[in-house]
């Protein structure tokens, strides 16, 4: 199953421990993670009102930045690692 990790800076506001969740796209992995344990608050820290990646957040799959920030349709390999980080553009 893909692994998912979150920036340490997010932990100050809401708990997002590393996890392993099923999913073949970034969207599927993220939604599976947020649905697990009712992490709806954490979802709002990463995704905006329309479900797109927040402007100053970034996601990498196996070290490569995702291309689709709105639908989050980039593929995630079965043994992939999804990193959710802050973009320095946000200050």
């Amino acid at each position: 199953m893909p692994r998912i990790r979150f920036t340490e800076n997010l932990q100050r506001h809401v708990a997002c421990p590393p996890g392993e969740v099923a999913g073949g796209t970034v969207r599927e992995v993220l939604e599976a993670y947020f649905a697990e344990g009712n992490r709806s608050t954490a979802r709002g820290y990463v995704l905006d009102d329309q479900g797109a990646l927040r402007k100053h957040m970034a996601i990498f799959v196996n070290g490569a930045p995702v291309m689709d920030r709105r639908l989050l349709a980039d593929a995630v390999p079965e043994d992939g690692t999804v990193d959710v980080i802050q973009a320095l553009s946000g200050g």
Partner: protein, 379 residues
């Protein structure tokens, strides 16, 4: 007279208390975080002393709301207003001033107001990009006011000082909580008398130099920086506008411009006396290209005769090389009308206990100040 107020700053929320030694910082909350607004709800529904609400803008992580029922000792994150899903085929009927349609995404909580004393749990929340939300459970959940969002004139609103239009003022008529008057940059004043079921744009009288001459008096393009209502006489409203000072005595049915007010009629903040609609305070700045105090002197201007004349109040305020700007929510007056406080972009905070005649410095070293709000009683 009030003995406590709250200061929302770029790096946290500060509670100021008047003890035996005078006004001093009692507590700091959310240190390091951008606290953009604070509201004290006096209704004793959750906490016996009322409830505090704080809006945070985490930048990367978005806008959040927190609530405290013990005067700010402990805080709990509550729900954040969420814009509805934007239809995939949505195309604005009015070309956006900004050149492209904006996302239906919460950008900023720009106004918070308790509902009426009988409207248990009701809170109003004004936001960028122009949505008005309400909660009936003290912020545990929020709903967008669709009649205003779906109003055909809403699409022609545009940003003033921001990339998006925003609701920064919400005045709930204490005598009739279904009657709201809200201030929008840039869309003037909007009014509902049926608790948000229907809305209309306020009457003429405001003037916008920033528009082509034939549009300058259009009520729906005005940039009120802040709109305030006299609680004792709710038909009396004051506006600090991008182009000066305006007042209404007929519940925003019409507006009269005040053309002379001390060093400048430009500014962001305004406060009206809670019992006397003829008395209002402003913090002027050189108009809009510069936005600094005239001659480097921080002053407060006050009218006590409905804008016919103004006092320029400077006792206790810096009068040499002071470049403090006071944002729209950063001036407030307490229930008595005697105690005022205001804070600046350069982190200075002042209090007056004599209606503005003289001022005491509380701090010159706070982070940039977004908002100053007294704890007030029930109306």
């Amino acid at each position: 007279m009030a003995n406590r107020f709250h200061v929302a700053t770029r790096k946290g929320l500060f509670t100021i208390h008047r003890g035996n030694a005078g006004w001093a910082i009692e507590r700091a909350s959310f240190l390091g975080d951008n606290c953009t607004l604070v509201m004290h709800d006096p209704r004793p529904e959750l906490g016996s002393e009322g409830t505090l609400y704080a809006a945070l803008d985490h930048g990367h992580f978005g806008v959040k709301l927190h609530r405290s029922v013990d005067g700010g000792v402990a805080w709990q994150e509550i729900a954040t207003p969420v814009y509805p899903e934007k239809p995939a085929d949505y195309v604005p009927k009015t070309p956006p001033m900004e050149g492209q349609a904006y996302d239906w995404v919460l950008k900023l909580v720009w106004a918070l107001s308790p509902g009426g004393s009988e409207q248990k749990g009701r809170i109003w929340c004004g936001t960028l990009p122009g949505g008005l939300f309400f909660s009936d459970d003290h912020g545990d959940s929020w709903e967008l006011n669709r009649p205003l969002w779906d109003h055909p004139q809403r699409e022609s609103w545009f940003g003033g000082g921001a990339d998006y239009p925003g609701i920064h003022s919400i005045c709930v008529n204490p005598l009739d909580p279904d009657h709201l008057t809200i201030g929008i940059s840039c869309a003037g004043a909007w009014i509902t008398r049926d608790c948000g079921q229907s809305w209309n744009c306020g009457g003429e009288g405001m003037r916008a130099e920033f528009m082509p001459p034939e549009l300058a008096m259009d009520p729906n393009i005005q940039d009120p920086h802040l709109l305030v209502q006299c609680p004792a006489e709710p038909d009396a409203l004051w506006v600090q506008h991008h182009n000066g000072i305006f007042k209404s005595t007929d519940a925003a049915g019409s507006w009269t411009e005040i053309e002379e007010a001390g060093p400048s009629t430009f500014g962001f903040a305004v406060a009206v006396h809670p019992k006397n609609p003829e008395t209002a305070w402003f913090v002027p700045a050189v108009k809009d290209e510069q936005r600094i105090p005239a001659d480097g002197k921080v002053v407060v201007t006050r009218t006590r005769d409905g804008g016919q004349s103004f006092d320029t109040l400077s006792k206790g305020l810096p009068q040499e090389h002071a470049y403090d700007l006071v944002f729209r929510h950063a001036l407030d007056v307490d229930d008595s009308g005697d105690c005022l406080a205001f804070g600046s972009t350069t982190g200075s905070l002042w209090v007056s206990e004599d209606g503005g005649d003289s001022w005491e410095t509380v701090s010159e070293h706070l982070p940039p100040i977004h908002a100053v709000r007294f704890e007030k009683g029930l109306l």
